[in-house]
Amino acid sequence: MSSFKIFDIAGSGLSAQSVRLNTVASNLANADSISGDPSTVYKARHPVFQAVQQKMLGAADAENRSESAVRVAGIVESQAAPQMRYDPGNPLANAQGNVYAPNVNVIEEMTDMISASRAYQDNVEVMNTSKDLMLATLKLGQS
């Protein structure tokens, strides 16, 4: 009986999706953080998810391995070039009068946010349903 593994699984999903929502928030908050130097300007960050592998009892081959959760393998910075703007009146502008805006794609971030929010809701729903089922199982034979 795998007892309460499902809470770990759904919980890992919740934590991974909330990391993703955090990076979206960070990217959107810094969407207009300009800089006079293209190397120091903010770069969009995205988490990379990875399934946690766990060998099942009695399953020897890789085919029968089961993933048992999800984890954030790392957060990568986007390598896209920052947007250059000519703005000589800006106090951050460099000698040529240029400022650099982050490579954050606001539309991409918004869709990412919706996707993360839906996935988060899915995991919450899984947790609620399995909690109800387990409580019902605990009450088995008592009514």
Binding site: S2, I6, S12, G13, F49, L57, S66, D122, T129, S130
Partner: protein
């Protein structure tokens, strides 16, 4: 006539176990909905139930000494754990279809509740027989 509790509860105890395993697998698919390269999985209920029901369904441990106990480690899912055939895999190799998984999870929930109802009815019958009221 003596009646064992296991045979009295019938297939429902095994079914409950398989449905609980399937709930884990489906929850895992939903948790990995955005993991690149993740392949969605599901339990073949018929195979899993047949495995759970038969005494030799699990994986036997090798005994090399006469003092070793013959242990039948139950194979969780095991051969019944299959990969889902994707309808529309995404570019990053992920084959989880969120809607399909949600539907399967709801289906599994209803079946789990049905099994629980069957089990509690059996137990209530047993209590009636014991107390004689």
């Amino acid at each position: 006539m003596p009646v064992g509790l296991d045979s009295y509860l019938g297939v429902h105890a095994d079914a409950l176990k398989v449905q609980s395993q399937r709930m884990d697998v489906l929850a895992n698919n939903l948790a990995n909905v955005d993991t690149p390269g993740y392949k969605a999985r599901d339990i073949d209920f018929r195979t899993a139930l047949a495995q759970a029901g038969s005494p030799e369904g699990g994986v036997a441990l090798t005994t090399t000494d006469q003092n070793h106990m013959a242990v039948n480690a139950t194979d969780e899912g095991g051969a019944a754990l299959k990969y889902r055939v994707p309808l529309a895999p995404s570019l990053d190799g992920n084959t989880v279809d969120s809607q399909q998984e949600q539907a399967a999870f709801a289906d599994n929930t209803v079946h789990y509740q049905a099994t629980l109802t069957f089990l509690s009815m059996r137990l209530r019958n047993l209590m009636t027989a014991i107390t004689g009221q």
